[in-house]
């Protein structure tokens, strides 16, 4: 095992050498329907001591020691969005990660959120 783990299944010319859905047990939909491509994912520390994870799940747990979105997970681990979603959903089910609030919010909460975004953009 090296940090290159997984890369032996990617060939520059041929592309991915493993069928994508082998990584998700054949599923194309996450069980958690709140997951958006922008939803933040953070590893629960205690989960890193557990040994019952598949290698692809472990890669997510390692990456998300600090918060990343589903889109970033997919980009950094070179898997399609749907695969990242299914895997994160598994990790939510097994209580290994926490996810951020859904992107869709109620109109009432929006004004404060938008004001914070505005302040943040001005400060850039």
């Amino acid at each position: 095992m090296t940090e290159q783990q997984g890369d032996e299944w990617f060939d520059a010319d041929a592309g991915r050498l493993v069928r994508l859905y082998a990584l998700t047990g054949g599923r194309t939909r996450p069980t958690n329907h709140q997951l958006d491509i922008a939803t933040q994912v953070v590893t629960i520390r205690a989960a890193l001591d557990r040994i019952d994870f598949e290698p692809e799940h472990l890669r997510i747990l390692e990456l998300c020691r600090r918060p990343f979105s589903i889109a970033e997970i997919a980009a950094y681990l070179s898997v399609p969005l749907v695969v990242a979603k299914v895997q994160v959903s598994d990790l939510v089910d097994s209580r290994a990660v926490m996810i951020g609030p859904p992107v869709q919010d109620t109109a009432a909460a929006d004004r404060d959120l938008l004001q914070s975004v505005l302040d943040g953009l001005h400060a850039l």
């Binding site: 933040q40 980009a75 399609p80 938008l114 505005l118």
Partner: protein
């Protein structure tokens, strides 16, 4: 605490500068990810025997701006090809709104994007990407040509310039706020 994500969609026709804009304001070099759509992924959960099915890959560019420890803003560029509308729906769902980039030499390439956000009542601003130097048309001429309502803000920007892209984002957030139901007037 897990941060809250917010999204802004950067749309527009091919070659209008979407990825350039995302890159100029993002705190990280734009990332690319892909979504795979198979025939079987519509309404079916079990892909046993999927070998013979065709699949389509859609590439997606995005950037990130950490607004605060609690809020992260993502900028998603729309896939260029119109046939990937399913992806637009996911990007736009729950988004603050959209910046529709237009190139005045090819206004028509941005019609589908404008139409998309108008129909779904998603707040958007039109950003004229004036990267070729002088603006060839008056803003109001562009508004007429695009049949845009007076309510849709038009900004002139240079997608390569961070400050310019930032102003377009600020305009959009202002516009989105202006469309929220009015706050109850404070008493006294």
């Amino acid at each position: 605490m897990v941060p809250q994500s917010v999204k802004i969609v950067v749309a527009g026709g091919f070659g209008t500068g979407k990825t350039t804009l995302v890159g100029s304001v993002s705190e990280i070099p734009p990332l690319t990810t892909e979504e795979v759509l198979t025939e079987a992924s519509v309404g079916v959960d079990d892909l046993a025997g999927v070998e013979g099915k065709t699949s389509t890959t859609v590439a997606l560019d995005f950037g990130r701006i950490t607004i605060s420890p609690r809020i992260v803003l993502y900028l998603f560029g729309t896939p260029g090809q119109d046939r990937f509308w399913f992806m637009w729906d996911e990007l736009a769902s729950g988004a603050i709104g959209a910046i529709v980039l237009v190139d005045t030499r090819r206004l028509q390439t941005s019609f589908p994007a404008i139409d998309f956000f108008e129909r779904r009542h998603i707040p958007f601003v039109v950003a004229i990407n004036a990267f070729h130097g002088a603006l060839e048309y008056e803003v109001e001429e562009v508004r007429q040509a695009l049949k845009l309502s007076e309510k849709v803000p038009i900004v002139v920007c240079d997608a390569r310039q961070r400050e310019s892209g930032k102003l377009a984002l600020i305009q959009l957030v202002h516009h989105a706020m202006s469309r929220l139901p009015a706050k109850a007037a404070p008493i006294g």
